[in-house]
Symmetry: C2
Amino acid sequence: MYYPEPVGRLIGELTKLPGIGPRSAQRLAFYILEQPVTAIEQLARSIVEARQKTRYCSTCWNITAADPCPICASSYRDHSTVCVVQDPRDLIAMEKTREYKGVYHVLGGAISPMDGIGPDDIRLKELLARLQQGEIKELILATDPNVEGEATAMYIAKLVKPLGIKVTRIAHGLPVGGDLDYVDEVTLIKALEGRREM
Amino acid sequence: MYYPEPVGRLIGELTKLPGIGPRSAQRLAFYILEQPVTAIEQLARSIVEARQKTRYCSTCWNITAADPCPICASSYRDHSTVCVVQDPRDLIAMEKTREYKGVYHVLGGAISPMDGIGPDDIRLKELLARLQQGEIKELILATDPNVEGEATAMYIAKLVKPLGIKVTRIAHGLPVGGDLDYVDEVTLIKALEGRREM
């Protein structure tokens, strides 16, 4: 009622974004209204193009512009070691260490009965299919160091160990109760080095 | 380097927005990548349309979809009283009180020699032109209760009083040193009631 209709609609759309409350949305909206049209069209185009030009890698389920993703397609990476992470931001946190030379598997979440997320709701079937191809020697479980992440790691370990594949969990150098992608590079390197068999 | 190119570009665009740091930008970008294409196209369209379908009211310089804006066009408003605010968000804060029945003038900023903003950089010429039409009896100065806002109010008062127009400043019920559009409605009503002639 206080805003012109297109502005009200914009504020409504912005409020849907994570971490953007009504006041941040208003601030962003008025910032947008004060920018040159070309700058705003560029912002909008970058949003649509990022969404349209990316998809999931059909091997590791990372977000990628080309399928398979550059990591899965690289001959410099060790394809016998797979690091299992919950989401693409965790993968980026791992890559930033510059220490890990294997490949990844992005689960797209963690098992969480409280939130109604079971083993079938994350990409475990896809992980098992990769493992059954026989090329993989070690699975590094790098799920978040919280209840859901630990439960997911435990579930995967139980599922995979009978296949004769080495299963390790990155070490608890990580602050417990946190989010993997908030950890600094050095701590993450320590956690990788201290991994132990499950 | 860690992101697919369209995602890196999106994060770059999002980081330009006020209050969005690199981590918030990354979070927003990955949220966008996980939404349905139609939802993201709708978001992008609402951004472009809000910018394209709004302009400044040629009377009061509020942001509006129609020129003159609904407030300037309304016969229910008192066109002899003009409330001077720094930006459109301040106008919305005033409107939310539901107490003010006059019209507005949006300066688009405050005089701030430190930031190189002088009297010619805000819409003072436009304000004087409105005042010279002779219809306006009172000017309520509702600039921010901080150094720049006070200086701007003082400057306008000195400029306008010789024209024989009543000039008032909203009362310091407002917390000093703050931003006008952060103030709650009741405080703002008190400030309007307690206004005194300058």
